[in-house]
């Protein structure tokens, strides 16, 4: 029986919303002065007019009741939607931040890879950056010396190793960074989404390298939205939902459960400053009836009712489309049609109608996210707040058997025979 190398016991992590980032000395002094005079907290009063004040002192549990044991040699996939607590868990394990309660016990050295190229300095050469980055990730100079040639070989930037990395193409940069990380010698490796970078060729190599690592008996914790990669690499998995681990077991079962759970619209957590917010939103057909399902090639409308909680010169509205693996498919914004939402007064409400014409993505389930904001920030963001089911129908393609599942989009075609 392999021994346990990581043990999490009753781990919980609490974040304080609203207070974060607003900490300036003047605010606190104001607050003390007000309390001293027995008056109401002035900072509270200011924000009482908008929604945020409700969040002002609210605590959010990013993780709750996490109990987990990982035994040696396991390649554990951690899956779950955005905001399920995966990244927070990795942050705790890699000691970027501490838990609120509970205890984590670890056997062996942990190297964490929450990002490739952490600490790379653009002015330094490739060689210098290998040493710097390696040391930041916990290697000693001796270890790096020993692995240096291997790292350079793997990265494929041998010719440019004496050039400052600011002259590298982004592909070279990522390859070099990953090469350093891939040659870490720790017993436990924590990896977060880093495979999402680089071209297909590089991703293939990265996955190959990860496989080598995992077969060498080391323990790997791997977070990814790329379910294929999880399937290929991991021999165990856990499913996280709303800050807790809801399932723990074989990769196949977990992925199936995850796919199923992602079909429902969960609780949408709004994000942003709330200067402008969505009041209601729906998907409608061209006659204005609310719908949940369309046929391939149909046009439909997204209606969004927005409210201005402040005078806002102008705001942009955009709409993201993701598929059921939460992969980003498309982005639509008001600027695409040179449409402006300008001169908005506080308290005003507007209804914006977005018509999406001849929907031509492959039949399946899609999620729509709505965003309000401008170049300086986000007013209101609702991730995956609408769900749309697309059926094959006959309007666009007329084959009488189901559309190929591997396809992402549908090209409309017309056929004829030329007479010679």
């Amino acid at each position: 029986m392999p021994k346990t190398v990581i043990e999490l016991e009753d781990i919980a992590k609490q974040y304080r919303l609203g207070v974060v980032g607003t900490g300036t000395l003047s605010h606190d002094l104001n607050r003390w002065w007000a309390r001293f005079r027995g008056k109401e907290d002035p900072t509270k009063k200011i924000s009482a007019s908008n929604e945020l004040s409700k969040v002002d002192t609210k605590f959010v549990w990013a993780l709750k009741d996490i109990n987990l044991e990982v035994s040696e040699g396991t390649v554990l996939g951690i899956v779950g939607k955005n905001g399920a607590g995966k990244s927070t868990m990795l942050k705790l394990l890699s000691r970027v931040t501490g838990p609120t309660t509970g205890e984590i016990r670890v056997r062996g050295r942990i190297a964490s890879l929450l990002e490739v190229g952490t600490g790379f300095h653009p002015e330094l050469t490739g060689r210098e950056n290998i040493f710097l980055n390696g040391a930041i990730l916990g290697m000693t100079r001796k270890e790096i010396d020993r692995k240096f040639d291997e790292i350079v070989e793997f990265s494929g930037v041998k010719k440019y190793i004496g050039t400052p990395v600011k002259r590298y193409s982004s592909g070279m940069y990522v390859r070099l960074a990953f090469a350093v990380a891939a040659h870490l010698e720790s017993e436990i490796l924590i990896v977060d989404e880093v495979l999402a970078v680089g071209d297909a060729e590089f991703q293939k190599r990265a996955i190959g390298k990860m496989k080598d690592v995992s077969t060498s008996g080391r323990t790997v914790l791997f977070v990814s939205h790329n379910l294929t990669a999880v399937e290929q690499l991991c021999n165990k998995a856990v499913l996280m939902q709303n800050g807790t681990i809801t399932m723990d077991g074989q990769v196949g079962d977990i992925l199936e459960a995850y796919r199923k759970s992602s079909l429902e619209i969960g609780e949408v957590k709004p994000y942003g400053t709330n200067q402008v917010e969505f009041i209601s939103y729906s998907i409608n057909d061209l006659n204005g009836n609310e719908i949940k399902e369309i046929k391939l090639g149909d046009s439909f409308k997204v209606l969004a009712n927005i409210k201005f909680n402040e005078d806002v010169e102008s705001t942009d509205l955009s709409l993201d489309v993701r598929n059921d693996s939460n992969e980003f498919i498309s982005h639509v914004t008001n600027m695409d049609d040179q449409f402006f939402i300008a001169e908005n007064k506080r308290g005003e409400q507007k209804t914006i109608e977005i018509t999406l014409k001849n929907f031509s993505l492959a039949p399946g389930i899609y999620y729509i996210s709505l965003w309000l904001g401008n170049m300086y920030g986000t007013f209101n963001y609702l991730e995956n707040c609408l769900r749309l089911s697309v059926k094959q129908g006959e309007a666009f393609i007329q084959r009488n058997y189901p559309f190929d599942k591997r396809s992402r989009a549908v090209l409309q075609s017309s056929w004829e025979q030329k007479s010679d």
């Binding site: 942050k91 016990r105 929450l114």
Partner: protein
Amino acid sequence: MNNQSTENISGEDWTMVIRPKRHLLELDLKEIWRYRDLIYLFVKRDFVAKYKQTVLGPLWFIIQPLLTTLMFTVVFGKIAGIPTEGLPNILFYLSGIVGWNYFATCLNETSATFITNASIFGKVYFPRLTLPVSIVVSSLITFVIQFVFLIAFIIFYAFRGVSIQIGPEVLLVPVLVIMMAGLGLGFGIIISSMTTKYRDLLHLVKFGVQLWMYATPIIYPLSEIPEKYKPYVIANPMTPVIETFKTAMLGVGEVNYMHLLYSLGFTVGILAIGIIVFNKVEKNFMDTV
């Protein structure tokens, strides 16, 4: 919030146990030693990156104090006519500036540790104290270059017949340098820890250090201060350090070992407080930055 750390785990061979709260004095200085390669590489990075693509390169180490000295000579020496204990203005100012610069750089740069490195700190763990320590070391290199430059100036003036009596205090110079570094680092990491919550401090530090310089005998000798105000000037822990430094290098100034001892005590105190506060903040600062 938690009292489960009492659980007995001594029977098991865990290499690391992460708990919500560290004991106030639970410092892992050994860990910093293990990461000494990282400190070395940070120092190298700072040094290399600072002067890449500059024409004059490391010459800037010398130009900066030289220009400051010339400016002081014109403004305070010639126009204001503040006496410099009978020494050439340039020597008097330069020695003060070289000493002060080291302290000021340490303080200024370490005070921004958490803010400027938030992106690295958010992604990977290494003992956070390695960064301020590396700043102190890389500033030390700058100091040494400037110090050699100062000695060259002293020799130059000595040849021209200015009588300079180097006192036995010269043996204290290493201690003085450590005190400059310790004071700068101590104040720097305290401020750095507080900037995670109060950004305002960052603005305050820059000109605070500038004002502090005028409260330290850099452009004027301590002997020119009226007796009535002297205790206030001496309460400034940098005063005995700079004054002793000047005496060591130039042979002028008032050395009082009681005052120096006070400074030393102050340095140790502020450094200890700094390390404790920094150690406490580093664990969860990512949640507030």
